[in-house]
Subunit: 214 residues, 2 copies
């Protein structure tokens, strides 16, 4: 599946602990039913073998829904599981290295948390990354070692420095969706708002509907 | 560098904690001076970015010595750092997947701890893996969750079931080198015996000389 900025409209990032007894695959199944436009598998506790087994399970679900599957950090898992993309943070593989290894068949996302990090991206060869994750917008318990929150105005300032499609992430709730899109984000990425929801499909529908509320 | 069974003669596996203040790169530099025939970078604590930075540092040292660098678990890091090989345990990427992703430019090693695991390898396409790591020979504090120790006779039994070059690993000291080679191992892999040694070069020389002692 070739990258499309529509992927970024409502992008769910998995968290095994927040998915709880329901499990990651069932949570993703419900989130897909609710209309999420991308799924990122993130799990820093699993072994590589466990991670790829989960990736393959999610791959079936996302492919059936026509939605991309993106793997956090692990290019090896993304390639082995034939995922659609890999998401690379500041402490992950360098996107320039990842692009060299992966070629152009895989989407590459990259996290930035400040203007300096966006300006660094401009130095890389064109086409190195497909999209940016900008955040945290707000403080979030799902990523305790994250950078300082940007707030919506901070996201706007970062977005003004780049012309790569970007998804905003970090503590985002329904009420923030319209302001973030108005600030220039192609969409929002959420962890808790869907993974910890009693009804992930309903949570996804509410977040999608919130695009229109001003 | 194309795989050669000579790589397995004295194969050092790094351990950041055991290398201590001396650091991994300096320990490897001294081990190479002592004649180690392969270096495996193993670090499950580091971020991907830290791991690749270390891999690149070791790559310079090993390339200058004409010795292969192998990365534990992480095919992405092995490919990005242009290492010579990747070593895959039972909970890592499946070697068949890794071979598909990596092609034939990279050596693949695989850990087995019993006859069942060696028999599984025989089912894979020819050329999937280049070598086996067999162990633990003895109980070892550097891998607390390892399988039950095989002993030298157990290693011999596993070796008798396969025709892939194999390196023995797990609590190996000087006195075990000759019996393990006599049992059919192409060589020995060590962690503590070199990483924790006050003089890694001398420790490597002693292990190499121990091949001849019966």
């Amino acid at each position: 599946m070739t990258f499309d900025a529509q992927w970024l409209r409502l992008y769910v990032v998995t968290d095994s602990a927040l998915c709880g007894d329901r499990g990651v695959a069932e949570t993703v199944r419900q989130a897909l039913a609710g209309g999420v436009t991308a799924v990122q598998l993130r799990d820093h506790e699993a072994t590589t073998r466990e991670l790829i087994d989960t990736a393959r399970e999610l791959r079936h679900l996302t492919a059936a829904a026509g939605v991309p599957l993106i793997i956090d950090d692990r290019l090896d898992v993304a390639l082995a599981a034939r995922a659609d993309g890999v998401h690379l943070g500041q402490s992950d593989l360098h996107p320039v290295d990842a692009r060299r290894v992966a070629g152009h068949g895989l989407a590459i996302g990259h996290s930035v948390s400040c203007i300096d990090e966006v300006e660094a991206v401009a130095e890389w060869p064109a086409g190195t990354i497909d999209y940016l994750g900008i955040g945290p917008v707000f403080a979030t318990p799902t990523k305790p070692n994250a950078a300082a929150p940007l707030g919506i105005d901070g996201v706007r300032e970062v977005l003004d420095c780049c012309d790569i499609p970007a998804v905003a992430i970090g503590g985002i709730k329904e009420v923030h969706v319209a302001p973030l899109r108005e600030a220039g984000a192609a969409g929002v990425a959420v962890v808790s708002a869907i993974c910890a929801a009693p009804d992930p499909a309903a949570a996804a529908r509410i977040l999608l509907a919130a695009e229109e509320i001003r």
